[in-house]
């Protein structure tokens, strides 16, 4: 086999792996019952400072303007609805957005932690995605880590004077990917591999979820850019009202 043939074979194998066997999985919620009790409690505890921070930020907003409670509620409901809508992934099967990247860009990372927690509770009791005992772990990966990274990347891109579309795309896609990495780490910590320990297990989890999560991150990035572009075209005034970055 020539070098070129080998390269083609490798690339086609990667494409086959990435897009070949994809059941209709959504964003990566850890299911009820997956984590041992100690991990459930530990992840919940790790989330607490972030949630407290988010709560104080929301409280400050509410004390300043009582009316903003409806605005916050709509933001939360919007993230939920966005995450419940089916979007076609590249393979033709359906998946769901996480929506937290967009939420972080529009409403700020701190309030998204609280809104994300509420959204996750509703996803558990209305959609049967995720669970009550795994709420802590899911909150950390989806409502804290993902949005936090998304907002950092967005701000960094703005500092570097990257165009808005590119920075929104990068923020949403990388935020999504980071959520996926954190979830894989959480799973690996709970179920380390017999031979290679936590790291080997993490690689295994990353590998089995890659076919669903990598295309999803890209689609989520594209859709987020389109939503922001739509908003900018039709709703400049509302966007300035919510400060684009911070809610009210």
């Amino acid at each position: 086999m020539s070098k070129k043939q080998k390269a083609i074979l490798t690339i086609s194998a990667i494409i086959a792996l990435a897009f070949g066997i994809v059941p209709g999985a959504g964003a990566m919620h850890i299911m009820e019952g997956y984590l041992p009790p100690t991990y459930c409690i530990a992840w919940g505890a790790i989330c607490l400072p972030f949630l407290a921070m988010g709560w104080f930020s929301i409280k400050k907003t509410l004390d300043k303007n009582k009316k903003s409670i409806t605005m916050l509620a709509i933001a939360g409901a919007y993230v939920f609805v966005l995450s419940s809508l089916k979007i076609p992934s590249v393979t033709g099967s359906c998946s769901h957005m996480t929506g937290t990247g967009l939420g972080a860009i529009l409403f700020g990372a701190s309030s998204v932690s609280i809104l994300g927690l509420i959204v996750l509770i509703f996803q558990a009791i209305l959609l049967a995605h995720g669970g009550l005992t795994t709420l802590g772990a899911n909150t950390f990966s989806m409502a804290v880590a993902g949005p936090f990274v998304a907002i950092c990347i967005y701000k960094l891109c703005q500092k570097l004077k990257v165009s808005k579309a590119v920075s929104v795309f990068l923020a949403a896609a990388i935020g999504d990917l980071f959520t996926y990495c954190v979830t894989s780490m959480q799973l690996a910590l709970a179920y380390p591999s017999a031979e290679g320990g936590v790291m080997a297990s993490a690689i295994k989890f990353l590998a089995v979820f890659a076919p669903t999560q990598l295309p999803l991150a890209i689609v989520e990035g594209i859709l987020t850019v389109l939503i922001i572009m739509g908003l900018e075209t039709y709703a400049k005034s509302e966007l300035t009202e919510i400060g684009f970055i911070k809610v009210v």
Partner: protein
């Protein structure tokens, strides 16, 4: 250990077979317009809300149901025993379907939502990678071996059973308790009032936004807006942005509407008083003891 698993499967299989036969029978009887199999159906996200409101177990006290569910889930993951898991799966199915009056088909379709995640994540547990040819089954993949062994397979099976049991326990709550009642329980747990208010409002807005979304989606679909992937992305982006703008515009109106109905910073809802009968508490306690006994005798 292997024996336990086999006995457990034997316990579990007849129940499963019964379920399948019931489902098939029902589908044959009804022969609905366009048949969706077990699995995702149109608007399955709304379905859970609907099922919860129409369940006969709705008149049970919500605090009791939430507490019971949490105890069962923690027993399930804490004891980590295949027998306990099997008993939980069967009894939760019995509670929701036989006592609660939900159809078997609907129960299975909700239960199958997390199946994709369960299967994928179990693969990662039953397959391992090594440079040496170890384990009972292995495939050579160029630079090492993907291998698996009987004990790993059993571990995976046990884990799967445990997850399905925990999900069934969760389903017992979500399929019998409307979210508004869950929020009332959360409010009683001394979380900040504003948090519960926010939850209540979000719960209500979800349906408003979904309605707006589906109307716009129908309109766009009628104009070939979801023809292929590219148009889909454009339409989806436009619709999603538009829904947000419209609802943000309405946010102030919602607040005024609440204020004109005497809202002064706290949302209070009339709570149906639901007493817990002594019989329910005793049977729940007995059930928990039964699970502990099973664990004690099979550990």
């Amino acid at each position: 250990m292997e024996k336990t698993i086999i006995v457990c499967l034997m316990l579990f299989l007849p129940a499963f077979a019964m379920v399948i036969s019931l489902t098939v029978q029902k589908r044959n009887n009804e022969a609905r317009g366009h048949g969706h199999g077990i699995g995702h159906r149109h608007g399955s996200w709304m379905a859970i809300d609907y099922f919860a409101f129409s369940s006969k177990l709705r008149r049970w006290n919500a605090t009791f149901k939430l507490a019971f569910t949490l105890v069962i889930i923690f027993l399930c993951i804490g004891l980590n025993n295949a027998f306990v898991s099997a008993v939980i799966i069967v009894s939760m199915f019995y509670m929701v379907v036989a006592v609660g009056g939900l159809s078997t088909r609907d129960y299975i379709s909700v239960l199958s939502i997390p199946i994709a995640f369960i299967l994928i994540s179990v693969i990662a547990i039953i397959v391992d990678f090594s440079k040496l040819p170890v384990g009972d089954f292995r495939i050579f993949i160029g630079f090492g071996y993907l291998y698996s062994s009987i004990s790993m397979l059993f571990n995976g099976l046990r884990l799967m059973l445990k997850i399905i049991a925990a999900v069934s326990a969760l389903q017992f709550m979500i399929l019998t308790t409307p979210p508004s009642e869950v929020i009332l329980v959360i409010r009683k747990m001394h979380v900040p009032n504003k948090f519960a208010d926010l939850m209540n409002m979000i719960y209500r807005y979800i349906f408003i936004l979904l309605d707006a979304f589906s109307k716009m989606k129908d309109a766009a679909e009628a104009r070939l807006g979801y023809r292929d992937f590219k148009t889909f992305c454009r339409t989806f982006g436009g619709t999603a942005g538009n829904v947000l703008v419209l609802s943000l515009k309405k946010a102030e109106a919602y607040y005024d509407a609440m204020e004109s109905r005497c809202y002064d910073g706290e949302l209070l809802f009339l709570e149906e008083e639901k007493k817990i009968s002594l019989r329910t508490i005793i049977s729940a306690t007995l059930f928990i003891f039964y699970l502990l006994l099973i664990w004690f005798f099979t550990k």
